[in-house]
Structures are given as C-alpha cells and as structure tokens.
C-alpha cells in the first residue's frame, strides 16, 4: 500500500502520465472531430504511423522540428482527405474505407521509410523536442516539473483541447459541425454545405491524429520503428466513446489512460518477478475494452454517424 502511495506522491509519475497521454490526446481529439461531423475514421492507426514517419523524416532530412510537425500534419490531412472523399461524397462504408486507409497509410509510410533508408542497421536518430524548462515556473515544487518540463508538443496537445472545445462550444462553425453529425438535412436546409463541413472535419481531425504519431518520433523517442504505434489509434477510437465526444472528457480519458500506463510501468518494476511482464503489456488494451464496455450502454452516438448523405435525396 505504501508503495502505491509512494508512486502517486512522486512527481515523475505525473510527468510520465502526461507524457504518455499526449499522443492519445491528439488522437482522441482528431477522432472526436471526425465523429462529431458524422464520419468514423478507422484510418487513425495508419495516420498515426504516417505522422510518425513523415514528421521524423522531415527533420532527418534537415527541416526544423516545427517544420516536421507541419509535414506530419499535412500528410495526415492528405490521407484524411482520401478517407473523406471516399466516405462523404461517395458515401462508401466508413468501416471498410477507414481500414483501407490504415492499410494504405501504414504500408505507404513503411515503404517510403525503407526506400529512403534501404540498409541501415539501427534506426537513425534525430534531436527531438526538449522539455521546455521555463525559468521560475519549472521550479515550483511538484507542479513545476509535471507541467513545465514537458515538451512543446504536450503543450500543443493541451492547447488543442482548449481550441477544439472553443470551436465546438462557442463558434458558429462548431454549431454547424455538431449539427452535421446529428442531422445533415438540417444543415443542408439552412444553406450550408454538408460535404464541405464533413470533409473539413475529417481532414482537420486526421491532421490532429498525425500529430499524435509525430509526438512519438519527435518527442517521446527520437527515431522511427515499424510497429511503434502499436494500437494507439484503436485505443483512441475506444476512448472517444468513453469521452462521449466531448473535448474535456477526451482529455480526462487520455490522462486517466496515461496514469494507468505510468502506474503499470512502475508496478512492473516492483512486481516483475512474480507476474509475467506481458500481463502489464496487455493492460492498456484490456483497459480500453473495459472502458468501451462501460461506456457503451450510455453512449450517445452522434445520430448521423456512419450514415452517408447524398445531395438531393431527402
């Protein structure tokens, strides 16, 4: 029991929680944006990979770190655009198209990486984002290290939560996005473009997902590995249901998840002798399934989710 308490009182636990949560925050926000507009984006897993690869590669080829972030966002947006075109004006199955995007994006990223770096033994490294370490603020006991020794991308993620919340709750655009995911006819009857709103949401959401991937190669690690995304995208799809499509709860869900992972890493070092390490590795996926089962009953899905809409076919 005291061991648990020790963990919670240690600031490094909270620092790690926020760090682990960061890619999930991007991913859940991106999925939220897409689904609020009525489009399920199962391309998320592949878009994570693409973001991770392109962001890293841009920096490796000489771009600045923020240049890499931009490249990652743009390449995520590109695959998002493909998914949007297939599912919105063409109205194809969002499930199948999303899985197709994941297969395509993953293989395209891997192929590009392999083609650019045909025979490297160990993955080349870049100099990733460093913790901000703001003078004075970082010296605040406890809060300082937890909040102010994060990398800029973590801050970007938190800023995105606020931004997405602001857009959704407080701007006409947010009202229109929420409407198009509930009843596209309402949007069309008021002279707004259903296709425009949905495509825009999917493209924007996909760019956010790609940032989640970019965080992995440009902040959490300093290189690109195959299989490094490892289901994080799918976890985001479960978390967005858990978060009932609200940015604030999305942050909460991602943080809880980050805390749990940080906790299991620490427990693993303590209980590693008794319990096989794989039990801990399974935990995040088990937890996501449990969160989904828990949330499913009361989930208030956007009413138009998965439903294609065609112009002139009321």
């Amino acid at each position: 029991m005291t061991e648990l308490l020790d963990i919670f009182l240690n600031e490094s636990f909270w620092t790690a929680s926020l760090r682990i949560a960061t890619p999930l925050i991007f991913g859940v926000l991106g999925a939220l944006l897409c689904e609020r507009a009525g489009v399920l984006n199962l391309g998320i897993e592949g878009i994570f990979v693409v973001g991770a690869m392109t962001g890293w590669m841009a920096v490796w080829m000489g771009a600045g770190l923020w240049g890499g972030v931009l490249v990652a966002a743009l390449s995520g947006a590109l695959f998002g655009l493909l998914h949007a075109l297939l599912t919105v004006p063409l109205g194809l199955s969002q499930h199948v198209s999303g899985l197709g995007i994941t297969l395509l994006a993953t293989s395209a990223a891997s192929f590009t990486y392999r083609t650019a770096l045909p025979d490297v033994k160990s993955p080349p490294r870049i100099t990733p984002f460093q913790p901000l370490d703001i003078p004075y603020l970082s010296d605040i006991p406890f809060l300082g290290p937890v909040l102010f020794q994060q990398t800029p991308l973590t801050w970007l993620a938190l800023a995105m939560v606020a931004l997405v919340w602001w857009i959704m709750a407080r701007t006409p655009l947010g009202v229109a996005l929420r409407a198009v995911g509930d009843n596209p006819d309402a949007v069309a009857a008021q002279g707004l473009s259903v296709y425009g709103l949905r495509i825009g949401a999917v493209v924007g959401g996909s760019a956010l997902m790609a940032l989640g991937g970019a965080f992995l190669t440009m902040s959490a690690f300093d290189a690109f590995f195959f299989g490094m995304v490892n289901g994080r995208g799918w976890i985001c799809i479960a978390l967005v249901i858990f978060a009932s499509w609200q940015p604030g709860k999305a942050l909460l869900g991602a943080l809880l998840f980050g805390m749990f992972e940080a906790l299991q890493v620490r427990l693993q070092t303590q209980a590693g002798a008794v319990v096989p390490s794989q039990v801990f590795l399974m935990a995040p996926y088990v937890l996501s399934i449990l969160a989904l089962v828990f949330a499913a009953r009361r989930a208030d899905y956007p009413r138009a989710l998965l439903k294609p809409w065609f112009r002139g076919q009321r």
């Binding site: 199962l42 493909l82 297939l86 004006p89 063409l90 109205g91 194809l92 199955s93 499930h95 199948v96 198209s97 899985l99 197709g100 995007i101 297969l103 395509l104 993953t106 293989s107 395209a108 891997s110 192929f111 590009t112 392999r114 083609t115 045909p118 490892n230 289901g231 799918w234 976890i235 799809i237 479960a238 249901i241 096989p276 794989q278 039990v279 590795l281 399974m282 996926y285 088990v286 996501s288 399934i289 989904l292 089962v293 499913a296 009953r297 989930a299 065609f310 112009r311 002139g312």
Partner: protein, 356 residues
C-alpha cells in the same frame, strides 16, 4: 455540378468486372511507388509475374500463401455478410495456432487422422471463442465489435508471446521463443513432392464451398443474409438477431482459427509470434474483393497471394522494399471500394443555368 444517381439494377457482368478492374488498377497504381523507388517499371512487372507463374514451385508457393488467406477471407466474408465487423481475424488466427500446438505437440497422442482432426478442431474452437467475446460484448452491452475485436488482436499476440516464453516454449529451441514442433502424425500432409503446398488448401476450398452452400441454400444462411441486410426487418419477422450474430461470430472465428492451424500444422511446423504477416487484415481485403461471396473469396485470395508472392520475389530481385506488396493490397481494397460505388451509382453532370 455533379449529381449522384443510383443505377436501377446492377448487372451480373458488372459485378464480376468490378473486382477485376480494381485488381488491375491496384497493380497499375503500383507503378507510382516503383517509380519512386527508381526501378525500371517493365522489368519490375515482369519479375512480379515470373515470381508467381515462372515455375511450378513459384506457383505452388502462391497457392501455399493463398491458403490462410482463403480462411481469413471467408472469416471476414461471412461476418461482414451479417454486418458483424470482425476485424480480429489476426488474433483468432493466432489463437487457432496456439491451440494447435497446445494439443499437437505431444500433449495428446493417437493415430494420425484422429490427431490431425483434433488439432483442427481445437484450432477452430479457439478461434471461435476468440470472436465470441467481441460478439457477446456487442449483443450484451452494445460495445462496438470493431474496436473490441481490433484491440483483442494485440492482447492475443501478447498472450501468445507469453505462452511461447512460458509453458509452450520449446526447451530445445536454443532460447528462441517458439513452440515445440507439431508431431509428425498431426501435420497436414503435403500435396506435392518437394513442394510446401499442403492439405490445408483442400480444407480451405472445402470450407469455401460449404459456406457458399450454407449461405445460398439453408435457412441459417437465409437468416444471416436477412440480419445483415436489414436487421430491423429480420427481427420483426421473428429471426433472433443476436442468436444469428453469435452463430456467425463462432463460424467466422473458427475459420480464422483454421488459418492458424493450417499455417502451423501444414507449413511451419511450430509456432512463433511472427507466424502471420497480417493474414487477418489481408483477409478483409480478400473478402471485399470477393464481394463477400465465399466462392469469390477463393479467387480473391489467389490474387492477393499472387501480389504477395510476386512482389516479394520482385523485391528481392530489384532491391525494392517488400512493403510494396502491402501497398498494392491496400490499393486494391480502395480500388474495389470505389469500383463498387460506380456499379451502384452513376455520376450525372449538369450545367448550371442562370440565364433569365
């Protein structure tokens, strides 16, 4: 401006033509990454073709690769027919393989045919149970089976690693995490001398035929089709939607489990954690290319296997990354989706006229 107009009917010829065109389109699109890699195009395609049809060995290699794809393709096809999104074939495949080595490496002994049967049954059962969980969570709690079956893939793979480093580890394996070899009596017989092609292919073909008959000719197949096409009307007509979905989940999982058995007991002989290069996910592509028809799955699996084997052999010859195969497979899924759209709808251009 463009308007989308549904076509009155879909001709059978178009239904056959669409996947064919999609497959060709995907192969053609492969020129883009090939050009990006800077290799001569014509030669690359020639190598790809030769990699499949260049020799009897190459051709049987393709058939060997098609075997698990037929199983996972059937698993996806029957599930998708009922609108049950089983994306967990990859995990169910590993469960099947795990069960196969659990009973087939000496835990049980008996005459060859019985042992082979037992291995097959155990694998199918394990796969079925692997899909039962997501299906039950769906029918019981309304939890989206797409996400649960996907996440289960990761859990199962870690579980397999755990078993391979624990109870199922081969003591003679020089420390590698791999299982003991399947007993000779339990392995699926080879079909041709000096080739790797094994009896798993015959079982896969039999499964495809059986599934075709079930869907087209039986009341259970009728129920599956009704639930998939319109669950609301099916329920109204007295068909138990949940019971049908659970049944479909079991069969779908069992088929994916058989893919694992056939790889372990027919090809590799023992289980490692990299048994499948994504056969479960490729099965989705196979099923979609097949238009969810069980007999179509066989053809689609041959195509996807050709891409894998051909691209692999070309990759080695030309020094191109072997991820090209995955790329072409993904492109063929996107192409068949778009093609499916054009069989059901046509685009109509109309001029905007604003003259007074």
């Amino acid at each position: 401006m463009i308007e989308i107009e549904p076509r009155a009917g879909v001709s059978p010829r178009m239904r056959l033509l669409t996947p064919l065109l999609a497959a060709l389109a995907a192969l053609a699109l492969a020129a883009v990454p090939l050009a990006f890699a800077g290799v001569p195009l014509i030669e690359s395609y020639r190598q790809m073709f030769a990699g499949v049809f260049g020799s009897l060995f190459a051709f049987t290699e393709m058939l060997t690769r098609a075997t698990p794809l037929i199983f996972t393709g059937l698993a996806a096809a029957i599930a998708f027919r009922a609108k049950l999104w089983n994306i967990g074939a990859e995990g169910q495949l590993y469960l099947g393989a795990l069960a196969a080595v659990a009973v087939g490496t000496g835990a049980v002994s008996g005459p060859g045919w019985a042992l082979t049967g037992l291995v097959l049954a155990a694998g199918a059962l394990a796969g079925a149970l692997g899909m039962l969980l997501p299906a039950a969570l769906k029918t019981r709690f309304g939890a989206d089976e797409v996400v649960t079956s996907l996440l289960l893939n990761f859990i199962i793979l870690i579980f397999v690693q755990m078993m391979l480093e624990g109870p199922l580890k081969d003591p003679m394996g020089l420390g590698w995490p791999q299982s003991e070899p399947i007993l000779d009596e339990a392995t699926l017989p080879k079909l041709l001398e000096r080739m790797r092609l094994h009896a798993g292919l015959l079982i896969a073909l039999g499964a495809a035929l059986a599934l075709h008959l079930v869907l087209a000719r039986t009341t259970w197949g009728f129920r599956i089709r009704a639930v998939g096409e319109n669950a609301s009307a099916a329920r109204h007509a007295g068909i138990s939607v949940n019971r049908t979905l659970i049944g479909v989940a079991l069969v779908s999982g069992a088929l994916a489990g058989l893919a694992g058995v056939s790889e372990v007991a027919g090809l590799k002989g023992y289980l490692t954690a990299d048994l499948s290069p994504g056969f479960g996910y490729a099965g989705i592509v196979v099923a979609m290319l097949a238009g969810l028809s069980p007999l179509g799955v066989v053809l689609a699996a041959l195509f996807v296997a050709s891409v894998f084997v051909g691209a692999d052999s070309m990759s080695r010859a030309m020094g191109v990354s072997s991820f090209l195969a995955d790329l072409v497979v993904a492109l063929s899924l996107i192409s068949v989706l778009v093609g499916g759209f054009f069989t059901r709808y046509r685009l109509r251009w109309r001029a905007r006229r604003t003259r007074p």
